[in-house]
Symmetry: C2
């Protein structure tokens, strides 16, 4: 392999790919980035076995290609080296498994690994992918992923469930104490209905390299999903197992509908939670007449009472307790001016949604405090 | 105690004082901030026993004073509460040891501690303090403190030695592998010569609340120093013991004087160190003809050679090894275009200084690598 390439072009692509470089050293070759240079251009690929990222730099963007070839270069070093270089032409060539990186003033020799040792991940594509704006996908991930579990005791809950049926896509995450559900319309559905669970951690990595402007293709397979955008392929494994059936969890009737300014509600909960036990974060909320009153009383520290004016659809008063952090996470997912709380009683899960937009639902299970 | 005060005024002062709130809970009352309200205004004070910070809010800046008094309020809670409040008038009053913090929509009750339990730190001042611009003090701290030791095995080296004689102030820090020395002129010296060692950690906390615009007074005592600026008193303990005599450490003659562009030198050392062992950070530097060549060869990873053009005062060539991180720390303390290296041989400590400004000297002890 022997090529000359502008530092900035190489760096931006290395930055993408490096998100998949394995930090665990179980399989040493996965601490590297696989470079394959052929007549079409340069392919860079990395994987931590859970995700695979491949960037392709077209030959048009490469200054000079002298010799095709392939090698695995240690990910941590190559990224740091290229990042700290000035933006000039960089010459990269292999001599056996040695990699020579040279500019007029610098000369690096790195020990590479035979590219044959890098696992062969076939990055297949579907003929009929689902296409959406990256911005839409960014919203889906941001509005649901926080509700997924971080505990490996029920692995399936560490993922986001994506269901596609006809022209509707539904994303759901839950850790069994709270749940987020987002539904969007898509232009064209898969021929077959889809019901998959994508690891939350994969989607968080994907978020880091998405940009709002462009579109993205979703290629869904039995045991994996490939996101294709710009010159990037991002593949994630899927989680095995059955995601809980949530249709029975979301209450269809309720006793009280409360409408509140989103920011005011967020701020009083934020301030009230300051005095809560930092492990459990439990605060009380009372709807009384036209006020929403949040309280927290912690023996050692003190107590707090915050109140805001709300609107409600009937005279019923209600009092519940919940995890303030869950409530704040849920409220952060909305961006309208007003939110609606649908409450039943002090033990029944309650729903938070936007006043005007039905596409997003947040659900929280109250905590019994007596 | 009973007063009304604007949130923004209270917050900025609480922010200063909170830097001294103790995070270790050895003495519970030191996790609090002492409030004393009298006819002159409100004094806020906190201490972690190593430093004491006192802010005084003049009565002119307080909306309403209803009742004098004093109490200790838990530092962590009061800061968070005031920070998260909107900028409105806040009412703070005590009821025994309960503290009531109220705004039209919020009501907090915190458990306070009797202000008698708070250690009484007399914050004395000298009649003839040393006066300088805060900017000058910020530079002294930034240009020397990194060279102080972080290891408690020789406590005296964890401080910065300040010597004042007539109208000259000298600041020195060393961890015995490197040394920083800064000398400045002051308008008026102490009547007696000064030779004190201020803990580096105290000065790092002081840095966080300094601002470049104003002046600062240094009040030096036997076992403490008080910095007075704006409405703030910042006291630090001094370190006991004898700081090493450095006058014999700084070489007065040398074999070779090398002049280099500061940024170029920093960049090649930064890039060369990428391949060094991350614990020891050792790289080689060779001065050969009109080039400075840095190299590093790490068996597992690979090797690097970087070169830049330099000027030197005689044809001697020299080759030394050193800790690249120490060299980068030292170079970062300069802000001119060019630096000068004064080298003797591969074992003798070498000096780095600015081409035109003699006030700052950095010294590094080479590492033997054979």
């Amino acid at each position: 392999m022997n090529l000359k390439i502008k530092r900035d072009i190489l760096l931006s692509n290395l930055n993408y790919v490096s998100k998949a470089v394995s930090s665990k050293n179980v399989i040493p070759v996965l601490a590297g980035i696989k470079w394959v240079l052929n007549e079409k251009g340069l392919s860079l690929e990395a994987s931590d076995e859970s995700i695979i990222i491949n960037c392709f730099i077209d030959k048009e963007k490469i200054e000079e290609i002298k010799e095709y070839g392939s090698v695995v270069i240690p990910g941590r070093y190559i990224l740091d080296i290229i990042r700290k270089m000035p933006n000039e032409l960089i010459n990269i060539e292999t001599d056996g498994l040695k990699i020579l990186i040279t500019t007029p003033s610098s000369e690096y020799t790195l020990n590479g690994i035979d590219s044959q040792e890098f696992p062969d991940y076939p990055l297949e594509l579907n003929k009929k992918p689902i296409i959406m704006n990256q911005k839409v996908l960014i919203n889906i991930i941001n509005q649901t992923s926080f509700a997924a579990s971080t505990q490996e005791s029920r692995p399936i809950l560490t993922g986001i469930n994506i269901k596609i049926k006809e022209k509707s896509l539904e994303a759901v995450a839950t850790d069994s104490y709270r749940l987020s559900k987002k539904v969007i319309d898509i232009n064209e559905g898969n021929d077959d209905p889809v019901d998959i669970v994508i690891p939350k951690v994969s989607l968080i990595e994907l978020l880091k390299i998405l940009n709002e402007e462009e579109i993205i293709e979703l290629h869904i397979f039995n045991n994996k999903i490939v996101f294709k955008f710009e010159n990037i392929l991002f593949q994630s494994r899927l989680l095995n197992g059955t995601f809980p059936n949530i249709s029975t969890l979301i209450p269809t009737d309720y006793t009280l509908e409360v409408t509140s300014k989103l920011n005011d509600l967020y701020n009083v909960i934020d301030r009230t939670s300051l005095l809560s036990d930092s492990d459990k974060n439990i605060i009380q909320m009372e709807i009384k007449n036209n006020e929403l009153i949040t309280t927290c009383d912690t023996l050692q520290v003190g107590k707090v009472e915050e109140r805001i004016i709300i609107e409600k659809n009937n005279p019923v008063d209600i009092k519940i307790s919940f995890n303030a952090k869950f409530m704040m996470d849920a409220l952060k997912s909305f961006n309208g001016d007003n939110v609606v709380l649908l409450l039943t009683n002090e033990t029944k899960q309650f729903v938070i949604k936007d006043k005007t937009d039905e596409s997003l639902i947040q659900l929280i299970v109250p905590v019994r405090t007596y």
